[in-house]
Symmetry: C2
Subunit: 216 residues, 2 copies
């Protein structure tokens, strides 16, 4: 099944852009250009929220990218979109779930974190990737908004660029993957007779007395 990928360049304090949407702090390099040229080959679809679309309109692009179909989620935008861009007023999660079930390349979640939040909430994001810049912006447009459950990740790749940026890529573990593994392990232990009633798992043991943070 095609994957939904969320990511972008961010500051260490997890902003995507300054409050005025500017990204003058981004560090471009040959390494980044090379990475992005390769990165974009995997996508034929972009999904974005109203805010990202409006910034795109201001820049003159209007959310259209050659060879890529863009979907803009908004119930209020009334402009006629550029060719290749479609306005979607229906539920984000429902629409992206349908997109995922269709044939195609991967789907890029573009821009800030509000759309991503809806997709995280619905467990529809399969991969996240960031180009962590060596800067604290102090304020700006956040990547992450609060979500109501924990999302476990698996580090797929970490690469340090010459300019001090750190490129990280993670697979999003589907809900229940961790629990399933534990359950399987527990089952095996039970079968081999090693299980003890009331025994703490090694995880519980290692964090049992130190579940409150005071010292890293």
């Amino acid at each position: 099944m095609r994957k939904v990928v969320f990511g972008g360049a961010n500051s260490l304090d997890n902003y995507f852009a300054r409050n005025d949407d500017s990204v003058d702090w981004l560090m471009w390099s040959d390494e980044v250009t090379e990475f992005l040229a390769d990165y974009w080959k995997r996508f034929d679809t972009i999904v974005m929220g109203r805010r990202t679309y409006e910034v795109s309109l201001q820049m003159g692009g209007g959310g259209a990218y050659p060879g890529v179909k863009s979907y803009v989620f908004s119930k209020t935008v009334k402009t006629t979109p550029a060719p290749g861009v479609e306005l979607i007023s229906q539920d984000v999660a429902e629409f992206v779930r349908k997109l995922k079930s269709q044939e195609g390349k991967d789907i890029c979640v573009m821009g800030g974190g509000l759309l991503a939040r809806s997709l995280f909430q619905a467990d529809l994001i399969d991969e996240v990737g960031f180009n962590i810049h060596p800067v604290l912006l102090g304020s700006g447009i956040p990547i992450f908004h609060e979500i109501d459950h924990q999302i476990d990740l698996e580090l797929l790749d970490c690469k340090t660029l010459k300019n001090g940026c750190v490129l990280v890529t993670y697979r999003v573990k589907p809900p229940g993957e961790k629990r399933k593994k534990v359950a399987k392990k527990a089952l095996n232990r039970k079968k081999s007779g090693k299980a003890k009633i009331g025994a703490k798992s090694s995880k519980a043991k290692s964090t049992g007395k130190t579940t409150k943070r005071t010292r890293k």
Copy 2:
């Protein structure tokens, strides 16, 4: 001069702990234990805020660590602190500036981000380091609170652990370091006769038309 270091283990969405202060999501390993044993050798002083102190009291430690002097910043705490712990009611920045000018090992900023914010605001932090865990907690105690100016960093080290954690260490560039460098460069150019009036810097050129974020 001794350094002020802020850091800890965090989730990818930059939380230090869950909303109830729990850190059951932390991944312990031999690699981390080894790193921390070495890490703590550089400190003889800890500074912490009221909230971190209260969590420490709940755990029974009371902010005291062998061989380390702890300072707790609070104007409201009235408890008698444990030996080695001192309550400080004066201005955080003023006090830490004085500490820095004294002889000693490095100073660790412990716990959440409110104390760190005051110290970032006053440009008193010299190094930041995080053990980025492969997890999105969704909500919790944030590492970073808004600050009123940008802080430029230099990546000193990035190490990937076997469990998927990423250890990053940055030097905080003192305010003006970047500007000074640019000024020096411009001066050299002027001296060698290469400067052109009205010429854009390579940075301005590369970001001039794309200062609004729509596509990473």
